[in-house]
Amino acid sequence: MPIRSKTFCESYHEDIKLLDTIWSKCWMVLFILGLLILPYITDTYIVYMVNLSCIAVVASVGLNILTGFTGQISLGHAAFLAIGAYTAALLGEGLGMPFWITLPAGGLVSAAAGILVGIPCLRLKGLYLAMATMSFGVMVEYVLITWRGLTGGERGMYMPEVNVLGHVLDTDESMYYFLLCITALMIIVAKNIIRTRVGRAFIAVRDRDIAAEVMGVNLTGYKVTAFALSSFYAGVAGGMYAYVMGHIHPEHFTLMSSIEYLAMIVIGGLGSILGSIFGAIFIVAAPEGIKLLAQGLESLIPAMQGRYDEEWNIAVFGLLIMLFLIFEPGGLNAIWQRIKVGFKNWPFTY
């Protein structure tokens, strides 16, 4: 990766700062302002898509902590979302609890499940771990369908609307601000975890676990921590999902959705928080983009009239995963970094 010139860090503290220059602070302020006025300049549909992206961002940041930073491949991320979503729905719909209890509770129950899965999985590596987490996902899906008394089985569960201090958030726009706050909070927390001791330990475990242990990194502790953190994020994302959808169903949390989360972090960039944000937005927006493209083609080429259906979406989705990995293994994050560095160093190449 090209390195930006004029980078002089005089202390370690300076090196790990989140916003290193005055310009990045300015851009950040502008970006936040842009997000705040977004509902006033676009239509409800876009706002709804951003809401879905927020959920995906939280979930994929969680998965990136486990897979991207700690190197533990998980094919059961959707199961942790499901646990969070159902916990939130049970508390919210069944007991009438407010969101500031249901969301953290969903996260915590999911984190507990993550620890339960993480401990027996400590000895597993690579693809064997992927298979173990995948079978955990299949088992959770089975329990959701079969345990009708608790989860409502095939009928699913309903979720009340969010109530913030007496205000019911019943429009997409009001949900937008609510989700944005949670997502921002989760991202900031993740960023800070990654740049402190815990995050560096995760990266050490990923790069060479035995060497890390020799250097004094508690392998067991940090692997379980990564599982717990990642499933906490998934649980909160599941709760957010339940609030946005108003109805949850076992079909929302299948192996295919686990694969989608994995695709998000691969396309976005493994081991990068910014990457998981890019990836999540990309995967949520891709079907819409493909649909628009197909409609454009239909109007251009008469022979293609009426040939479009959902299946093409999925095909292009699969194709995108392949193409990204073949041509840009670093993901969207690598492209972004290249553009950024090129822009900063202009007109010099280094």
Binding site: M139, I259, L262, I314, A315
Partner: protein, 292 residues
């Protein structure tokens, strides 16, 4: 007697799992990757066989033709999708095969549609009766073929130059290249052979199950068999396949009334989870010795 019946039909299903599992094991042995698109290879082969028979090609000729087509498809897949990933981390390659599986499945959905086809089975409908045990011809054949393939691959990986080269490549790409092994050739052949095995499994499955695009999901049910036996063990694939087949049938037969349906589908995964807790490399997988 109910128990015995469950076991026998379990063996019958298990031998098909074993055949599928062998396809996975071959690619893992040759390249160190789990191919998530194996199920799609099976499904595509089944459709090729279906159309060949539909065009009036006799069954005994249609099967070899299908296998040739599968081998070509495998080599093509390797050339277009896997070759560019040579030297990338295993995780990325696995992710590529996941992408490939999604792509192939939806393309098949577009081309073949989602309705069921009836495969013209060449075997007599009347099952065999051997000492009170009922067994269909198709299952008998898949058992025989699995066993023969197992013997073949056992000797192939033990003695054949190419088989040894494949194992060396899986073990360490760089060293294998330095030793003069043409790993590009090894990769292409591995994928070709594995797709041939998938083609056999496809023809076998199309005979016993309904033929539709969903046939690809059978490969996911065969994952537990692969892992149970250990990712790089050919005998392990056979034993794992049979064990999973018997276990899921027994669980389905006895537990379905208690918890109400679907136990059969989830048992293999529960077994897999438990086995991995006790033996992290499956029953017959080799334990990797790690050095820093």
């Amino acid at each position: 007697m109910y128990f015995l019946e469950l076991v026998i039909s379990g063996i019958a299903v298990g031998s098909l799992y074993a055949l599928i599992a062998m396809g996975f094991v071959l690619i893992y042995k040759g390249t160190g990757v789990i191919n998530f698109a194996q199920g799609e290879a099976i499904m595509v082969a089944a459709f090729i066989a279906y159309y060949l028979v539909g065009f009036g090609v006799p069954f005994w000729l249609a099967v070899p033709l299908t296998l040739v087509a599968s081998a070509l498809l495998g080599a093509l897949t390797e050339r277009l999708v896997i070759r560019p990933m040579l030297g990338e981390p295993v995780f990325s390659v696995v992710m590529v095969t996941i992408g490939l599986s999604i792509f192939l499945r939806s393309m098949a959905g577009i081309v073949f549609g989602h309705h069921n086809y009836v495969f013209p089975s060449p075997f007599p409908v009347e099952p065999l009766h051997v000492g009170g045990i009922v067994l269909s011809h198709n299952h008998l054949w898949s058992m025989i073929i699995s066993f023969l393939l197992m013997l073949l691959f056992f000797f192939f990986f033990k003695f054949a130059r190419l088989g040894l080269g494949m194992r060396a490549t899986a073990n360490d790409q760089d060293t294998a290249t330095l030793m003069g092994i043409n790993i590009k050739k090894v990769y292409a052949l591995t994928w070709g052979i594995s797709f041939v095995v998938a083609g056999l499994a496809g023809v076998g499955l199309a005979n016993v199950m309904v033929l539709n695009v969903g046939l690809a999901f059978v490969a996911i049910s065969a994952f537990p068999a692969v892992i149970l036996g250990g990712l790089e063990s050919i005998p392990g694939a056979i034993i794992g396949g049979l064990a999973i087949g018997i276990l899921e049938n027994l669980a389905g037969g006895y537990l379905d009334q208690i918890v109400g349906g679907g136990v059969k589908d989830v048992t293999p995964f529960a077994v897999l989870f438990l086995v991995l807790m006790i033996r992290p490399y499956g029953l017959f997988g080799t334990k990797e010795v790690e050095r820093v």
